[in-house]
């Protein structure tokens, strides 16, 4: 017999690191070196960063600065040379070989792209249902979840349409629904508004913010557009494979100017 509540009280003395429990992605000293015939190319150097639940982090940088390489590391498309990467507590290092890498991606990552990447022969509803089918979710559950998601994103009216019948903004909404239907810890968005006009860009970014706030969705967003970056909570600036600067949004009018100034510095190579 345990005495009184002393057992419980003692265990309840263990401090709970509540902030750290909200970490979704933790990257420690990550680097990637490509070995070419005549020389080595360092695509990423000593990257350290953390993304929390419900946080949108934007990555900005010139072409070749390491942004895509980082996304490839996070999504286990490619393997780091050094360092550690943890996604929702799982060490990504353990899953770089197939078939583990595909399973890891299926269960943990949502993707949206500049070119939407919807399957042209499937309806909107079937495009959204596909990740659930691939995750062996029962049919009755799929129907419920897809219905809920379409209502949440305001796309129920298009359920039977093919992607080609939709505008760019509508297609990206469908792509977002598909990306988050399995509740992945992190959504990777690679230039999601690159093919959209200004008003549609605003609409899509407002949708991502709503997801961030209502679903606690963590989002890592690659963009070259400083206006798009203003929707994030913070911005990491990449240059030559390193994080050279960081900007935390102040939610004031000066944010866009600050981001523009920092982006100009890195594009001029002065970071």
């Amino acid at each position: 017999m345990i005495k009184n509540n002393s057992f419980k009280e003692k265990i309840n003395e263990i401090p709970v690191p509540r902030e750290k429990l909200k970490e979704v992605l933790r990257i420690e000293a990550l680097s990637k070196v490509y070995h070419q015939k005549t020389h080595d190319v360092t695509a990423l150097k000593n990257i350290n960063c953390t993304i929390h639940k419900g946080e949108m982090v934007a990555i900005m940088g010139t072409s070749g600065s390491g942004k895509s390489t980082l996304l490839n590391m996070i999504s286990a498309i490619d393997e780091p040379t050094n360092g550690q990467l943890y996604l929702s507590g799982k060490r990504a290092k353990d899953i770089y070989k197939e078939p583990y890498a595909s399973t890891y991606r299926k269960e943990n990552i949502g993707f949206i792209f500049q070119s939407f990447q919807l399957l042209k022969d499937l309806s909107v509803e079937d495009n959204i249902a596909l990740p659930l089918i691939l995750n062996d979710v029962p049919q009755a559950e799929i129907a419920k979840k897809v219905k809920w998601m379409m209502e949440k994103l305001g796309i129920s009216d298009w359920r039977e349409h093919r992607p080609i019948e939709l505008s760019g903004g509508q297609q990206q909404r469908v792509a977002i629904a598909r990306a988050i239907i399995t509740n992945p810890p992190i959504l990777l968005a690679d230039e999601p508004t690159g093919a959209l006009d200004f008003n549609t860009t605003k609409e899509i970014m407002q949708l991502l913010v709503r997801l961030k706030e209502e679903k606690d969705q963590s989002i890592l967003l690659v963009t070259h557009d400083p206006y798009v970056a203003t929707y994030a909570n913070r911005i990491l600036f990449f240059h030559d494979g390193e994080i050279v600067d960081e900007y935390i949004m102040t939610q004031t009018d000066s944010d866009l100017d600050q981001i523009l100034a920092k982006f100009k510095l890195i594009t001029r190579g002065e970071a």
């Binding site: 017999m1 057992f7 003692k10 929702s88 507590g89 809920w148």
Partner: protein
Amino acid sequence: MTEKEELVIKARNGDNLAFQILIEDEQDALYRFAFIYVRNETDAIDIYQQTVCKALTSIHTLKEPAYFSSWLTRILINVAIAFLNKRNKTVLIEQTDLEKIEDPNQPKVEEQMDLLQVLGELDDKYKTVLLLRYYQDYQVKQIAEMLNCPEGTVKTNIRRGLKVLKNALKGAYVYD
């Protein structure tokens, strides 16, 4: 139907906010449970996060909303044990080991061992049932269902786990 059960149904239908509310209620207990297995913050965080992730993606498999807490705890136990097996860091202290420690020919250990330390070093099967019984207040029948083993096995493991605690902690937490 309770408010919690309604939240579980909403979460099962895809309402992530409902799921977050449910998890926040269980957060501290889940983390502390994980900590007892691995005895360090970093690994406990990893186990907690893996548990939440698994729960989120498999909540559609939960048939009875009333069993949400026990279902979640069972996921955590499986995650923790898989984690430890992989890391190969399970340390066993059986009763026989303690008898050796208490060899009368050896100098007595003056300082009492801490509950958390002893609990953390117990064999997983004792640790699990003691946490479920005395930390989370599940009854033997519920524990047997959660662990998919006979009630007799649960009772035996509780008894043996308590004996190890009693011997190590010299009556500080356990009645004779």
